[in-house]
C-alpha cells in the first residue's frame, strides 16, 4: 500500500454522491498473450496450469449460468451452456495438450492459437448466428487464458464495491443494481446515456466517460468516485481521503437541511405554485414521491419492466406493476409514458438499424405493433381505477400519430367497458415534445391532447444534431444553446395559448442553473430524478416569479451557451447562496 502514486481521472459526472471504496473491475477486454517458449522440464507444470484454469473457468461459468437463469431467464443462459460445453471438449483440449508438449509453447499461447482458429472460421461465416457464436468462443478463450495467467477474475460480484467497466449496458446496470453497488465509473458513455439515467434513478453515484479507467484500476484497488465533479481518484493518499470525507459530510449536511423543506409547497416568493414531480423507472422508486416531497410522478418510464423480462410482459404483469406505482403515489398523479424502446434502449429481439435514434422507436414501434400498444393501454387503463394516471406518448413527430394513438386508446377503453372492467373514463393523454417537428407544431398538438411534456434529452440532440452518447461530440450537446431555449419558450407559449399545461421531464428540469430560466419561461411542472427535488424546491422557494421572468428575457437576448450559463450561475448564486454549486 502507498507505493502507487495518486492519479486523478476526469470524467463526466452522471449521478451525484461521493464514494470511497474498493473497485470491482468488470472487464470485457481481451487479456494479452505473447508467444512464449517453455523448457521440457516445464511441460508438466504447464499442463497443470491449463487443467487448473479449465476447472476454474467451468466453476465460474456455472455460477454465471445460474445467476443469469435467475435474473434474466433461461433463454439468455443458453449462451453460457454452450461455453461450458466447449470447456469439456476433450478433442480440443487433447490437441492443446499435445501442442504444449510437442511445440514447447506456453499454455496460454497454445490455447489462444488453437481456439482462435475456430473463432476465425466462425467469424468468416456469412451467417449472423455463427458470428455471434464466435463471440462466445472468444469469451471462453479469454476466460481460460485469464485463469491461466491467474489474473484474479472474480466471477461473482463482491457487494459494496465500486463497479469499474468500459461500458455498462442497461442490462448490466439492472443486474448490478440488485447487488449492493456503491458507485459506477466507466470508460465510455455520456451524461444522458441510459446507464447514467438508471444509476441516477437508483441513487448510485456514477462518473462516465473516463476513457481509460479500466486500464488503470485493478480489482480491490481503493478509489474515490466523486459524482458531483466527475473526478475519480485512484490510489488516494490519506490526505485526499480525509478531504473527500469532509466534502461528503458537507453535502450530506446540506441534504439534511433540504429535508426540512420537504413538506412545504414549491411556491415562489411572489406566490406562484409550480409542480415538482419525480422521474422513475421501477415501481420500487415510487416511494420517493412522498419522501422527496414531490407532487407526483411526472415521468414513469415503462421500459424497465420490458427490459427485465425476455418477452413483452403480459397485460396482467404490466397491470400489477402500474397499479403498484399508482397506489404508492396516491393522492398524486402518475404520468406514464408508453413503451419507448429504440435508440440506445435496445431490447434483445430488436432489429439492428444503422441509425436507431432516427429509426423505429417510441410511438412508431407501438403503432406498428398494435397488439403491444393495446396491451399496454389496457394495463394502464385498468390501473387508472386505483389512482390518477396521465398517459404520455413518446417520439411524437406529427398530428397523425396522436390521432391514431387516441383511436387505439378508444379501442382499449371499449374492450374494457364490454368486460365491465373499471377504469378512469376521463384519463388524460399527452404528447412528449422531443422531435423538432413536434416542437414546431406544439400549438396544433396541444389542441389534440390534454398536456405536453418536453423531453429535453432527445429534443436537444435532435435539434443540435448531436449524439448524446458519443463523447467525441458530447460537448456540443448544450442544454443552454440559444436555439434550445427559444424552442422551449415557443412550446410553452403555444400550449398556453390553447390553455394546456406544459411539463418538462428531461435532465434540464433538474438542473439547478436551468430553474430560474424555466420558471421565467412559464413552465408549469418540473419532473426530475427524485434525489435532486428538494434542492430544486429550495431554489423555487427562494426566488420570485417576476425576477425569473426578467432573467428569462435577458437570456433570450444572449447569443452563446457560455454567456447564458455564466449569467444564470451568477444569478442563482446571488439569489440562493447556500447552494453547493460545483
Amino acid at each position: 500500500m502507498g507505493q502507487k502514486n495518486e492519479i486523478v481521472l476526469h470524467g463526466i459526472p452522471a449521478s451525484p454522491g461521493i464514494i470511497i471504496g474498493k473497485a470491482y473491475v468488470f472487464a470485457k477486454q481481451a487479456p494479452r498473450v505473447e508467444e512464449k517458449s517453455i523448457g521440457e522440464n516445464e511441460i508438466s507444470l504447464e499442463l497443470e496450469r491449463l487443467q487448473h484454469a479449465v476447472d476454474r473457468s467451468e466453476k465460474e461459468l456455472l455460477k454465471v449460468l445460474q445467476l443469469t437463469e435467475q435474473k434474466v431467464g433461461s433463454q439468455k443462459a443458453k449462451i453460457f451452456e454452450a461455453q461450458i460445453m466447449i470447456l469439456s471438449d476433450s478433442v480440443l483440449f487433447g490437441s492443446i495438450r499435445k501442442r504444449i508438449q510437442n511445440d514447447l509453447k506456453s499454455a496460454e499461447y497454445v490455447v489462444h492459437r488453437e481456439i482462435s482458429k475456430y473463432q476465425q472460421m466462425m467469424m468468416n461465416s456469412s451467417d449472423e448466428y455463427m458470428r455471434e457464436r464466435a463471440h462466445d468462443v472468444e469469451d471462453v478463450k479469454n476466460r481460460v487464458i485469464r485463469n491461466i495467467q491467474q489474473e484474479k477474475l472474480i466471477s461473482r460480484f463482491e457487494p459494496n464495491s465500486i463497479v469499474v467497466s468500459e461500458i455498462l449496458t442497461p442490462a448490466d446496470t439492472v443486474l448490478f443494481s440488485r447487488n449492493e453497488v456503491l458507485a459506477y465509473a466507466t470508460d465510455m458513455g455520456g451524461v444522458t446515456s441510459h446507464a447514467a439515467l438508471l444509476s441516477r434513478s437508483l441513487n448510485i453515484p456514477s462518473v462516465v466517460g473516463l476513457k481509460v479507467i479500466t486500464k488503470h484500476v485493478q480489482v480491490g484497488d481503493t478509489i474515490i468516485v466523486d459524482g458531483y465533479t466527475g473526478n475519480v481518484t485512484l490510489h488516494p493518499t490519506e490526505e485526499t481521503i480525509a478531504r473527500c470525507i469532509e466534502r461528503k459530510t458537507e453535502h450530506e449536511q446540506f441534504e439534511t437541511r433540504l429535508k426540512e423543506i420537504r413538506e412545504l409547497t414549491a411556491q415562489t416568493m411572489d406566490g406562484k405554485i409550480v409542480h415538482l414531480s419525480c422521474n422513475i423507472e421501477f415501481s420500487d422508486e415510487a416511494g420517493n414521491v412522498h419522501t422527496q416531497g414531490s407532487t407526483g410522478v411526472g415521468l414513469y418510464r415503462t421500459e424497465g419492466l420490458f427490459l427485465r423480462t425476455e418477452n413483452y410482459p403480459s397485460e396482467d404483469e404490466q397491470y400489477a406493476e402500474y397499479r403498484a406505482v399508482v397506489e404508492k403515489s396516491r393522492p398524486h398523479k402518475v404520468v406514464m409514458r408508453t413503451l419507448d424502446i429504440g435508440g440506445d434502449k435496445v431490447v434483445s429481439n430488436s432489429t439492428s438499424e444503422d441509425n436507431p435514434f432516427l429509426g423505429w422507436r417510441g410511438i412508431r414501434l407501438l403503432l406498428d405493433r398494435p397488439e403491444v400498444f393495446l396491451t399496454q393501454l389496457r394495463a394502464m387503463l385498468r390501473a387508472s381505477a386505483y389512482g390518477e394516471i396521465w398517459i404520455m406518448l413518446p417520439m411524437i413527430s406529427g398530428i397523425k400519430e396522436i390521432r391514431q394513438s387516441k383511436e387505439y386508446l378508444e379501442i382499449a377503453k371499449k374492450e374494457l367497458r364490454e368486460k365491465h372492467v373499471p377504469f378512469d373514463e376521463n384519463i388524460k393523454i399527452g404528447a412528449m415534445i422531443e422531435v423538432p417537428s413536434a416542437a414546431i407544431l406544439a400549438g396544433e398538438i396541444a389542441e389534440e391532447v390534454d398536456f405536453l411534456s418536453i423531453g429535453t434529452n432527445d429534443l436537444i440532440q435532435y435539434l443540435l444534431a448531436v449524439d448524446r452518447g458519443n463523447e467525441v461530440v458530447s460537448s456540443l450537446y448544450q442544454e443552454f444553446h440559444p436555439a434550445v431555449i427559444k424552442t422551449i419558450r415557443s412550446i410553452i407559449m403555444e400550449a398556453h395559448r390553447v390553455g394546456k399545461p406544459v411539463s418538462m421531464c428531461g435532465e434540464m428540469a433538474g438542473d439547478p442553473i436551468a430553474i430560474l430560466l424555466l420558471l421565467g419561461l412559464g413552465l408549469d411542472e418540473f419532473s426530475m430524478t427524485p434525489h435532486i427535488l428538494p434542492e430544486i424546491k429550495k431554489i423555487i422557494r427562494s426566488v420570485s416569479c417576476a425576477e425569473a421572468e426578467e432573467i428569462a428575457n435577458r437570456v433570450l437576448e444572449m447569443k452563446t451557451e457560455d454567456d447564458i450559463k455564466d449569467f444564470l450561475r451568477v444569478n442563482l448564486h446571488t439569489m440562493v447562496p447556500e447552494l453547493l454549486l460545483e
Binding site: 454452450a82 460445453m85 478433442v91 480440443l92 481456439i115 466462425m122 451467417d127
Partner: protein, 88 residues
C-alpha cells in the same frame, strides 16, 4: 471404416443443442468419427468443431467412422440425423 452421407432435417440446423447431442452420442463409442463438409474435416467428437460447421437445414454431410465399434457408432449417429435430432 464406414462412410455415410446424411442430410440435416431439423429447421435450426446443427446449432448448439443438436451439436451437443451429436458429440455426446459419438463419445459413447471407441471409433474415431469425422465429419466432412465443403472441404472441411471436423472431429465429430469435438463440440467446438461441430459448432464451427455451421450446417444449416438441407445441407449434406459425409460421416466417417473408423474403429472396433464403427458399425454401432454409424448406426446410432445416422439414426440421430434421420430423426432430425428429435426436434423436427
Amino acid at each position: 471404416m464406414i462412410e455415410k452421407d446424411v442430410t440435416i432435417k431439423n429447421r435450426a440446423g446443427l446449432h448448439t443443442r443438436p451439436a451437443a447431442a451429436l458429440v455426446k452420442l459419438a463419445a459413447q463409442f471407441q471409433s474415431e468419427f469425422f465429419i466432412y463438409k465443403d472441404g472441411f474435416e471436423i472431429n465429430g467428437k469435438s463440440i467446438i468443431g461441430v459448432m464451427t460447421l455451421a450446417a444449416e437445414q438441407g445441407s449434406t454431410l459425409q460421416l466417417k467412422f473408423d474403429g472396433s465399434d464403427e458399425q454401432q457408432a454409424a448406426q446410432a449417429v445416422v439414426g440421430l440425423f434421420e430423426r432430425g435430432f428429435d426436434e423436427v
